[in-house]
Every structure is written in structure tokens, then in C-alpha cells.
Amino acid sequence: MNINLTLLGQAISLFIFVWFCMKYVWPPIMNALQEREKRIADGLAAAEAGQSKLMEADQRLTDLVSEGKQQASEIIAQAQKRGDEIMDEAKNAAKLEGKRLVDAARAEIDRERMQARDQLKNEVAVLALAGAEQVLMREVDKNAHDEVLAKLSAGL
């Protein structure tokens, strides 16, 4: 158990080791640890920000979807209304057209009936004249009687 120069040797060694450690070992390791701590903190903050942004986006998405749904139902309602209107318009137009067609047909029928009656009238006059010729048994003055017949047929 001799106390000797080893004691000083140990003390000096310790000082040299501590100096080396303080200069070349401690700072880089500590810097790296602090840098990593900072990065982790930044990462967590970024994650939190991302989370809140995601929630915001979710909210916006829900809003947009409900707005879209509402718009869609409005459009459908409008379309239905417009469809009904178009249907009514078409019905009305069809009715009018039908009435017009019926009227036109009726007018045509009237016109044809008048024409037939005129024709019939003339034929009856001719027949009557022939019958009168037969009854009188003689030639009558055609010109003098045509006038009478024309008056007669106009009177029919």
C-alpha cells in the first residue's frame, strides 16, 4: 500500500482524459442528441398540424357533400316542375291542334256537302226540264225556258 508517484500520474491522466472528452467527445454527441430532440419535436408538431388540417378537410368535405346533395335535390325538383310544365304545354297544344283539325274537317265536309247539293240541284233541274219536255211532248224554246229553269234552280 505504498503511496507514490502513481497518484500524480492518475490525477494528470484524469485531467487529460477530461480535457479530451470535453473537447472531442461531449459536444458532438450532445449536439446530435439535441438535434434529434428538436427533430422529434418538429415532427410531432407537424403531425399535429397535419391532423388538424385533415380534420378541417374532413369538415369541408362533409359541408361540400351536403351542399352538393341539397343542390342536386333542388335541381331534381326544378326538373320535375319543368317536366310537368312541358307536359301541360304539350297537352294544351295537342288539344288545340286536335280542335283545329276537327274544325278544318268539319268545314271541308260542309263545303263538300254544299257542292253536292248544288250539283244535285242542277241535276234535279235538268231532270225536271226533261220531265216537262216529256209532258209537253214538244220542243220548247230552250233559250226561253233556260231562263225560267235558272230562276227555278236558284229558287231551290
Binding site: N4, T6, F20, Y24
Partner: protein, 276 residues
């Protein structure tokens, strides 16, 4: 093994294991290795324990080499396992320093780290079976070899002396010579009992490095001695029954002793920085 390689009796074996390899000045003025315990004792203060110095420097170099290697190639994104392990040690020391030391002194944390790892590595030499290195070196012609530097009171005193020097240095630097003197003279009983204060404070001041070094030395010397006793007195086929449990227990002891030395150093230096 039980009888050792150097001496026929257990007593001789044990003693042989307790002597340091000493280089110094013989009484006749010439320098050289001590060939016996008496020669080493005759050298007095002008001698050096070659084995203690060699192993402590080797352990210190191992510590600095390992930590420097990690520090140079340190990676923030993908730390290797070694880096994670070293980071854990550094963080543990950093946390201890931050919790205990409330000044701002860039020396304290590296000092604490150096002390913790260096002492742990020197203590760790205790777990190498007691005869491996001494027997090998004896065959190589070296008469003595104590491989656990912290089981040499010179080593622990040397470190405690360095810490003590720092305590005094920072006490005077922070508080001034007068402030430091006042702290020694006027506490705990006030100015009326100055001599009593001085005696009490000086005793407590010098007790700090003494307890620091003797605690470490005592634990490691005793641990080493028990390993030697097991090796000396028990037949080789039964030694494991005692040396293995003791070694497992000793893993705790060597870590704890390194930690205590570090913590007390931080506490003492923290006290040196505090002004009342």
C-alpha cells in the same frame, strides 16, 4: 490453480496478487523495477506502479477511442446499436448533472462522463479471472501484475485528488478567496466560535476526497481479495460455485461504485459553486 503459479503456499499466492509492479529509484540511487515487495517499499514516493498506470491508461484510451469513434460517425436518423448504447450513457450522465448541478460550467458533464466510464472500465478488470493476465505476464518475465487499477489506493486517491483540486479551484474562483475562507470560518456556528468552525469545516472538507477515494478503493480491493481467496483456498473444480455468484454480484458493485464516484463528484463541485 489453487496454489498459484508463483508460490507454493496460499499465503504466498495471495500476497503475490496484492503487490504492484513498481518502477522507481532504489535506495542506492539507481532506477529500476522492484524485484520484491520490500524493494518496492524502500523506494518510497519516488516510484510508480507500472501495472496500475498501464491498465488505467489503457482503459482511459479505450473509453476515449470508443466514444470518439461514435462521436465522429454519429447519426441522427439511424443510430447503430453501439451509438444507442453510448447515447444512453451520455444521457444518463447529462441528466444526473442537470438534476444535481445548478450552475453553468461546461466542465462538469464531461468530467462526470469521464469519471463514470473510466472507473467502470477499470473496475471491470476485476471480472477477468484473477490469474489470466498475471500468470501470462509472469510467464513473460514480469514479476508482479495487478490488473485492477481501482484496487490500488494510488489510483483512487489520484482521481479524488484531482476532484479535490477542482473543488478548491472553483470555490476560490466563484466565491473569491475571502468568500471561501468565510465559508470555512463562519459556519456553522457564527463568528464567535471561529476556531471550532474552522476545525469542523476543514475536517469535512478533507473528508470529502478521502471518503471518495477510500470508498472506491475499499470496495474494489475487497472484491478483488475475495476472488483471490476463492482462487487460493478452494479446489479448482469447485471454484465456480463461489466465484460465479460473486462475479454476478460484482457486476452490480462495479457499476454502482462508478456511479457513486461520479455523483459525489457532481455534488461536491455543485457545493463549490454555491454561495451562501
Amino acid at each position: 490453480m489453487a496454489a498459484g503459479s508463483t508460490s507454493g503456499t496460499p499465503a504466498g499466492y495471495i500476497q503475490h496478487h496484492l503487490y504492484n509492479l513498481t518502477y522507481g529509484r532504489h535506495p542506492d540511487g539507481s532506477w529500476g523495477l522492484a524485484r520484491s515487495h520490500h524493494e518496492a517499499a524502500d523506494m518510497g514516493f519516488m516510484a510508480i506502479h507500472v501495472d496500475t498506470m498501464f491498465w488505467s491508461l489503457a482503459m482511459g484510451a479505450l473509453f476515449l477511442w470508443l466514444f470518439r469513434r461514435v462521436a465522429v460517425s454519429i447519426s441522427i436518423e439511424s443510430p447503430s446499436r453501439l451509438q444507442s448504447c453510448i447515447e444512453a450513457i451520455v444521457e444518463m450522465v447529462d441528466k444526473s448533472v442537470k438534476e444535481t448541478f445548478h450552475g453553468s460550467n461546461p466542465l462538469i458533464a464531461p468530467l462526470a462522463l469521464t469519471l463514470f466510464v473510466w472507473i467502470f472500465l477499470m473496475n471491470f478488470m476485476d471480472l477477468i479471472p484473477v490469474d489470466f493476465i498475471p500468470h501470462a505476464t509472469f510467464l513473460a518475465g514480469i514479476p508482479y501484475m495487478k490488473v485492477v487499477p481501482t484496487a490500488d489506493v494510488n489510483a483512487t486517491f489520484g482521481m479524488a485528488f484531482a476532484v479535490f483540486f477542482l473543488m478548491i479551484y472553483y470555490s476560490i474562483k466563484i466565491k473569491g478567496l475571502g468568500g471561501f475562507g468565510a465559508e470555512l470560518a463562519f459556519h456553522p456556528f457564527g463568528k464567535a466560535l471561529l476556531p471550532v468552525n474552522l476545525v469542523l469545516e476543514l475536517v469535512s472538507l478533507f473528508a470529502k476526497p478521502l471518503s471518495l477515494s477510500l470508498r472506491l478503493f475499499g470496495n474494489l480491493f475487497a472484491g478483488e481479495l475475495i476472488f483471490i481467496l476463492i482462487a487460493a483456498l478452494i479446489p479448482f473444480w469447485l471454484q465456480w460455485a463461489l466465484s460465479v455468484p460473486w462475479a454476478i454480484f460484482h457486476i452490480l458493485v462495479i457499476t454502482l461504485q462508478a456511479y457513486i464516484f461520479m455523483m459525489l463528484t457532481i455534488v461536491y463541485l455543485s457545493m463549490s459553486h454555491q454561495t451562501h
